[in-house]
């Protein structure tokens, strides 16, 4: 009998230990979370005080974003600032944030939506990425904001990528185009001018290779970076609507698309890209450019702060960097002011949110404040209109904002346009194309096959 009691006691003790262990670990988690939070008051506190006071008043909106303090401190700071302003203006609202890296963010979003647990407000990518969420009725319509508070605030056409059947489910906060950045010092030392045509570019590549300088850095392990080069070649050869039409009609065998693939391989054959580019991540490739080992780098305008405002980058380096528009191809239909680019992430409000109206109000506030702060404070081009005369900005920003005003067309990244399976396959195929594992014809055919599969 005694031994039974003993056994029962040990068992209970064990259970208590387990439960308390779980409890403390989740506390730790919360603590870790709240240290990430932009808010000063922790959510636990506000909840417990809510018990004694009127509960209906105090609400906590959950927000998830993808700009951790370490790698994207500028955006992170702007978000914190906006949240603080909003909380001051609306003392009953607490906004708790959770921050994750891009890839983890994507995964977590998916898991949360499967368990019907999306944050009240969060970020999504346009078109193909958000389609399953919209189909699964995870996001709520933001049309009323677009007709009301935010009417005419956006650059024309920037909300299209978030609209399905005429209803807009998210609002863009970023707009990016892809220039080719180049190191003016390296160009000057070798008597080179920014190229106007693809042949100019090839001459530059040959000259630099002759001197033992890497012409172009590229991190094609992240295949979307190689896709930029392919997209530009396709645009310059086949004209501005070619890629959009190809994705819309699920055909990829247009001769211009195959020619673009040939030109891409031609560049690879000329050793235009950094050695081992198919095994390098974008970050590794970027460091080649930042360390002045490579002369050119095609990347979105989100890199511009590194060449203008970022205090961590030495001024001598910033002064050396310029950009040029992707050169035209002789005989091609594309224009120098066609750009590859597109809206980045946009804000959504969860359909399942308990405080939809408050969340929408916050989104509206956020978008407007973001438009004011982002370009001056963080160097991010917002999707809302910016009056270049009214803001004080580094020259490269002014130039790029003006480019946007005169752009003939901004082709949305093809991998974003495609549905998820086709997009994933596009990444594989671009790697294969640049790694010369497929011929241009096979590349086009395989891309068409997967587009036709419709997934």
């Amino acid at each position: 009998m005694r031994s039974k009691t003993l056994a029962a006691c040990t068992l209970i003790l064990a259970l208590i230990l387990i439960v308390s262990a779980c409890g403390s670990s989740s506390n730790n988690k919360n603590a870790a979370k709240s240290s990430n939070e932009a808010t000063n008051s922790s959510p636990e506190k506000s909840e417990s005080s809510g018990d004694s006071q009127a509960q209906a008043e105090k609400i906590t909106l959950k927000m998830m974003h993808l700009w951790p303090d370490g790698s994207n401190s500028a955006q992170n700071t702007v978000i914190k600032q906006i949240i603080e302003e909003y909380q001051t203006a609306n003392p009953n609202v607490t906004i708790s944030t959770e921050v994750l890296d891009t890839e983890q963010y994507k995964n977590k979003l998916k898991v949360l939506s499967a368990s019907n647990d999306l944050p009240d407000v969060g970020f999504t990518w346009a078109a193909g990425f958000m389609e399953p969420y919209v189909k699964g009725s995870m996001f709520t319509s933001l049309d009323d904001l677009l007709q009301g508070d935010l009417k005419d605030k956006f650059v024309a056409g920037t909300t299209d990528g978030y609209a399905f059947n005429g209803t807009t489910y998210a609002l863009p906060v970023e707009l990016n185009i892809v220039p080719v950045y180049y190191n003016k010092e390296i160009f000057a030392q070798n008597n080179l001018q920014p190229p106007q045509t693809l042949d100019d570019l090839k001459n530059i590549i040959n000259t630099l290779n002759g001197k033992g300088i890497t012409p172009i850095t590229l991190g094609a392990k992240d295949a979307w970076t190689a896709s930029f080069w392919y997209m530009y070649l396709a645009d310059r050869i086949g004209g501005k609507d070619l890629l959009d039409q190809a994705v819309a009609s699920n055909t990829f065998t247009d001769p211009a698309l195959i020619e673009a693939a040939k030109q891409a391989q031609e560049l690879v054959n000329m050793k235009a890209f950094v050695k081992g580019f198919n095994g390098l991540s974008n970050d590794e490739a970027k460091s080649e450019f930042m360390n002045e080992k490579a002369a050119m780098y095609a990347m979105g305008t989100w890199e511009v702060p590194n060449y203008t405002t970022n205090p961590d980058v030495p001024q001598e380096f910033k002064d050396k960097i310029g950009y040029f528009k992707f050169p035209t191809v002789t005989g091609g239909k594309g224009d120098l002011s066609d750009w590859v680019g597109g809206v980045g992430v946009g804000l959504f409000v969860s359909e399942k949110s308990k405080y939809k109206e408050e969340a929408k109000k916050f989104v509206s506030f956020f978008v407007q404040k973001w438009g004011e702060h982002s370009v001056t404070d963080a160097g991010i081009i917002p999707a809302t209109k910016v009056d270049t005369a009214a803001v004080k900005l580094p020259q490269m920003f002014i130039d790029l904002l003006n480019e946007l005003n005169t752009a003939k067309k901004v082709t949305l990244y093809v991998d974003v346009q495609m549905k998820p399976v086709a997009s994933e396959e596009h990444h594989n195929l671009v790697q294969a194309l640049f790694g010369k594992a497929v011929t241009p014809e096979e590349f086009a055919q395989k891309q068409e096959d997967v587009l036709k599969a419709g997934k």
């Binding site: 031994s3 039974k4 003993l6 056994a7 068992l11 259970l15 994507k106 995964n107 998916k110 939506s113 499967a114 399953p132 969420y133 189909k135 699964g136 995870m138 890497t214 094609a220 392990k221 295949a223 950094v274 050695k275 081992g276 580019f277 198919n278 095994g279 390098l280 590794e284 080649e288 080992k293 998820p420 399976v421 997009s423 994933e424 594989n428 195929l429 790697q431 294969a432 790694g435 594992a437 997934k455």
Partner: protein, 293 residues
């Protein structure tokens, strides 16, 4: 205590909580994975039942089979390298100077997380600034390999860090097993005139046969489901040249939003692991195990 252990209700009280946990966390998801494999599902919207379509596609999917090949290659190589680990453990278990230090040196990589190891080896393999290519260049090689970008070398380049990571683990297991062999057996053999090699091959290795079987299963199954280091170092690239089953599953499910197909791959991976384990048990089965006596 004996009384407690013979009471069925007490046994149940102790066993059932963890049993329920394991059922809920491991076995239920396995069954569900097999079930999701029968669905067309993007992970968010409604599932539709499509029968065995996913499995049929799987059997004809070239990319999947190439990932299976890569996984099997890893599994076979890992199993073969167990011989090397055993040799190292034999030497360490003999009375050599500094055996303790060496044992620790071999074990340290195991204490590092896979991601840290991957980052370390990414630096080593860097095509222009990596230590490996620097070394080759200083030895006079002109065309130093692009370790992680060249489809023909990437698998080998990935295998080295994986080996390096797990060497210590297996060496430790073998070391402990060899140390467990009673000294009297070895002494007796020596008195009978057996050489060191004979003692190793005829006495020590047969005596740890059970341990060897376990390590083969661990190495093979571990390699078949290997994921993390490959995910960080190449993400299955370039163009699927280093894709293994687990990374292919991840790509299909989480990048391609095709959870039905991803689940089918996961279920197939489980089947392959089960078959491999069963096969190894069959192949290595002995009628009566050797005892220390």
């Amino acid at each position: 205590m004996d009384k407690v252990m013979s009471d069925k209700r007490m046994i149940a009280l102790y066993v059932i909580p963890s049993l329920l946990l394991i059922l809920a966390i491991i076995y239920l998801p396995i069954v569900l994975t097999g079930y999701y494999g029968l669905m067309e599902w993007d992970g968010i919207s409604k599932m539709t039942f499509i029968g065995l379509d996913n499995y049929a596609t799987l059997l004809q999917d070239e990319k999947f089979w190439s990932s299976v090949n890569h996984s099997l290659l890893f599994a076979v190589l890992s199993a073969v390298f167990l011989i090397v680990y055993m040799a190292v453990a034999l030497v360490l278990a003999g009375r050599i100077r500094g055996a303790n230090l060496f044992r620790k040196i071999y074990l340290i990589p195991m204490l590092l997380s896979s991601v840290a190891i991957a980052q370390l080896w990414l630096k080593i393999y860097h095509p222009t600034t990596g230590i490996l290519n620097d070394l080759l260049a200083s030895l006079g090689f002109k065309n130093t390999p692009e370790w992680l970008a060249d489809p023909s070398v990437v698998l080998g380049a990935l295998f080295v860090p994986i080996l390096w990571q797990y060497a210590g683990f297996y060496i430790l297991i073998y070391y402990a097993a060899f140390k467990n062999i009673p000294g009297s057996l070895v002494e007796a053999a020596r008195i009978d005139g057996a050489s060191s090699l004979q003692i190793a091959l005829r006495i020590k290795v047969p005596l740890i046969a059970e341990v060897i079987k376990v390590t083969i299963v661990l190495a093979v199954v571990g390699s078949l489901k290997y994921f993390d280091l490959i995910y960080v170092m190449t993400d299955g690239g370039p163009n699927g040249a280093s894709e293994v089953m687990a990374s292919y599953m991840y790509h299909k499910a989480f990048r391609g939003f095709d959870f039905g197909y991803g689940s089918a791959i996961g279920f197939f991976l489980l089947l392959i692991c089960l078959v491999a384990t069963w096969g190894i048990r069959k192949l290595t089965a002995t009628k009566d195990s050797i005892q220390y006596s």
